[in-house]
């Protein structure tokens, strides 16, 4: 170990910290600005005093979320839908990806390309078709309907993601297990699944987040206001042609970001680290 090596390391560490610092600024700047704007007196996000410390702040918009709207209810609804979507997607994708990655069957390669291609379609009229489909099964205005559509639609892309990851996991463990006489199911759940936890976390987060963001489709499906999810409810504040309540929307949106952030924080243990990094010793 020469001095120059250590110095090099310190320099690269310094650069890393610098980049991180810049990124944090880049990320936090609008976030903090959003928060400050949500403390504005009126419905407008604009404020003449361009400072990060508001001169005349009010918590009114936050309060009103809970006193005058069904914000709490929407929150609950969304959490319910998000968790269910996340779990369903992970299960479906794991099964499907496992098949494409590990099994041999007729139409495997075609199926892969088909999945790649199908989800590239700019589906302008998609929502219409989904609406009709849900109506056929009596799932309109239900959360179950939403969950099914969200989870089902997430399969192609996430399968690709998961499959790629699975491909990178060495087969020696499985081969050893087969020699030991394990069934296909055991292999899948007791061996593969623990190894793919990082990617499972990623997909879990992705599919947890999507119900928070979708309002076009949810709005079409959920007509009863007590069924609304967060984004439908929030968009109601700004969907009128005039008189939109932007500050209240901002307040609600910031609050809506909390569960996702918390989830990410807690899943980081699974996301990073994970078990053996895909190799078998001995």
């Amino acid at each position: 170990m020469t001095i120059s090596h250590r110095a090099r390391q310190r320099i690269s560490l310094g650069i890393s910290y610098l980049i991180i610092f810049i990124m944090i600024l880049y990320v936090l700047f609008p976030v903090v600005w959003t928060f400050v704007s949500s403390l504005n007196q009126g419905d407008s996000l604009y404020s003449s005093d361009m400072s990060f410390i508001p001169k005349d702040p009010t918590w009114r918009h936050y309060r009103r979320l809970f006193t005058e709207t069904n914000f709490g209810l929407w929150y609950k609804n969304t959490l319910k839908v998000a968790v269910a979507t996340s779990v369903t997607t992970v299960i479906l994708v794991t099964f499907t990806a496992y098949a494409f990655s590990r099994l041999q069957f007729y139409g495997r390669k075609t199926g892969l390309i088909a999945m790649l291609v199908l989800q590239m379609f700019p589906g302008i009229m998609n929502m219409v078709a989904m609406y009709v489909l849900l109506n056929l099964f009596g799932l309109l205005d239900t959360h179950l309907g939403l969950i099914i559509v969200y989870a089902g639609g997430a399969i192609p892309y996430n399968t690709w993601l998961m499959k790629g990851y699975m491909d990178g996991i060495s087969r020696s463990l499985e081969e050893a297990a087969i020699i030991d006489g394990a069934s296909k199911w055991t292999i899948m759940w007791r061996i593969i699944f623990p190894l793919i936890l990082p990617m499972v976390s990623v997909i879990a987060i992705f599919s947890f987040v999507s119900p928070f963001g979708d309002f076009l489709f949810a709005r079409l499906v959920l007509t009863t206001p007590t069924n609304w999810t967060l984004s439908v409810g929030l968009h109601d504040f700004v969907s009128a042609r005039f008189g939109q309540r932007y500050t209240q929307f901002a307040a609600g949106s910031l609050l809506a970001a909390l569960p996702i952030t918390v989830l990410y924080l807690s899943l980081q243990g699974l996301l990073i680290g994970g078990l053996t990094r895909g190799s078998v010793k001995g």
Binding site: S37, L92, A99
Partner: protein, 435 residues
Amino acid sequence: MQRNLIENTGSNIGRYTSALLSTLYMGAGQIANGQWLKGIFLILFETFVLIPSVPLLLKNLKGLITLGETPMVDHSLFMMIYGILAAVAAIFLIVCYLVNIRDAYEHGLAIDKGGKRKGWKETLSDMIDAGFPYLILAPGILCIILFTFLPMAFNIMIAFTDYDLFHSPPRHILNWVGFRNFVEFLTTASWANTFKQVMLWTVVWAVLSTLTTYLLGMIIALILNNPRIKFRKVIRTILILPYAIPAFISILMWKGMLNTNFGIVNHLLTTTFNMQPIPWLENVFWTRFAVIMVNLWLGFPYSMMMITGILQGLPNDLYEAATVDGASGFQKFRYITFPLVMFSVAPLVIMSFAYNFNNFNVIFLLNDGLPAVFGLQGKAGGSDILISWVYKLTFQSLKFNYAAAMSLIIFLLIVGFSIYNYTRTRSFKEEEMLR
């Protein structure tokens, strides 16, 4: 003993007869082959599932062709969807039937060659083994058919009808009009020049938005992979915020921040650096720049997260061997990390490109495709991409058929490009190798 019983009862009727029997009625051939359980199951299937569904399927398929007869009673769009479902179901049943015939034939073949008839336990375990992939794929495939394929087929069909405001169900019955929509739309106006400009920007946008988000995501993921950095958990969580906060409000805030005379960005630039205010949303170049910048802000956490996940799957031993060989950090990155990550990520990048080609969320919300550019026809704005322009032309006029037709064309473009590039990547060529 059971086997002897089977061997001795009845003669072997030959594989062709079995196949023929199964063609006439599912399960018949299997019974002739001696597979009672399978045969009975198939017979029941045909009797209680297949045959009763035929009239329903035929009706819906017919509905698909005629799209209804009576306005206000028949609803064409619905008939389309039912027709698609019926077509899928019909194909499924036909496949079942064919598999049944082939199975009878194969089994007959095996027996002809002198093999033993399989007892039901063996058959069952054989079926589960062979069917395992299909079994675990079944829910996924069902979802893909219903939620990805069905809407796409629906979209494509609309491109061949006359569905627009003045021909909308339930008041009107739709009609199939062949390629008329494509011809009309493409020959309508002097849009050639506009099309070129918009197309060019669309490609640039797709490339830049994909590359910037992936690169930045990768850089951050790699930096944060270094155990020497402190507070990584907190840093990662902060950096996830653009993803966690609903995009709508973020884009709205950016729009306000980038306001030429009243936005904080220009305020800081003019007061701190004494610059002239930048016409962010009034000038074509700056709007495009802003759009990419905002998209980067929104998009990098996603790729950062994903690549972090991928990095976890990289095999440790390669790095250890490299350290033993005296490789520097940069060399490790260049020869191990980067290729391995690219390998996993290449198909995803292509998919992202295709996605961004049609991603007009940021463009729409930030400045609605504006600024207006003199000379651009058909309501196109300076930051409009192909899909947002088509949307303005067709959806705003409620010409759903045109919108669907153009989506189809855009789709074929993207697919052509993507498949071409994907098949050239190493990921594709070496995919079999890796398995």
